[in-house]
C-alpha cells in the first residue's frame, strides 16, 4: 500500500489531492502505467512524463526509481518557487 499525492494541475486533472493505492509496481514507471490504465483522467494527467516530476518519501526521484520500501509517492509539475 502506498500513499500517492498529487499537486497543482496534476491534482486538478485527477480530481484528488491524495489516495491510497494497493500496488505491486516495482518502479515509478510501472506505477504510472497502472494509474494510466485506470481512467481517462489519469491517462490525461500522465500523458507526458516530461511535464511531470516525482518525489519518493519527499525526495525528488526519477521515473525508473524502485518503489521498494517507499511509503509516499508524489506527482507534480516542475516547481515554481521563489
Amino acid at each position: 500500500m502506498v500513499e500517492i499525492l498529487y499537486f497543482a494541475w496534476v491534482r486538478e486533472r485527477i480530481g484528488l489531492p491524495r489516495e491510497q493505492v494497493e500496488t505491486n509496481a516495482a518502479t515509478v514507471a510501472d506505477l504510472v502505467e497502472e494509474l494510466r490504465a485506470r481512467e481517462e483522467r489519469y491517462a490525461a494527467a500522465f500523458a507526458d512524463l516530461s511535464a511531470l516530476r516525482v518525489a519518493l518519501d519527499q525526495d525528488l526521484a526519477d521515473f525508473d526509481a524502485s518503489l521498494d520500501g517507499v511509503r509516499e509517492v508524489a506527482f507534480f509539475p516542475p516547481m515554481t518557487g521563489g
Partner: protein, 149 residues
Amino acid sequence: MDIRVQSAPFDFGAEAGAFATGHDNAGAVVTFAGIVRDDTGSLQRMVIEHYPGMTERALEKIAREATGRWDLKDCLIIHRHGDLAVGEMIMMVATAARHRKAAFEAAEYLMDFLKSRAPFWKKEITGSGTGWVASKDEDEAALGRWSKE
C-alpha cells in the same frame, strides 16, 4: 539557519533588521525579497500551493548546502503559501558571511535552487481565468553554473 514556511505575511524590514544584527563575525549581509508581480494588469491574486513536509526538507537541504559552500554565519528563508495579492511579498532570503562576495553568491544560489527544487507551485488568478505558472527553461539552466568542477 532559520527556515519558515507560512501563509501569514511577514515584515521584511523587521526580519532584515533582526537578521543583520547579532552576527559579530559576519561583515556582510545580503537580503532578497520576491514580490507578486502583475505583468499584464489583469492579475487579481496568486495562489501558492506547496508540499508540506517535503517543502521544509528541500529548503533545509538547500540552506545546508549554501552554508557549507560559502561558510555562512547564518541564513534565513521565509516562503509563503496560500492566497497573495499583487504587490505582496512571496518570500525572502538573507545570508550573512564574512565578506560580501560569499553573501551575494550564497543568496543567488538559494534563489536559483528555491525556484526549481523547492516544491511550490504558483497559480495566477486573472479577470479572464486561472492558470498555473509554467517553469522556465532558464531557471533549470541556472542550476548548471553551481555544479562543481
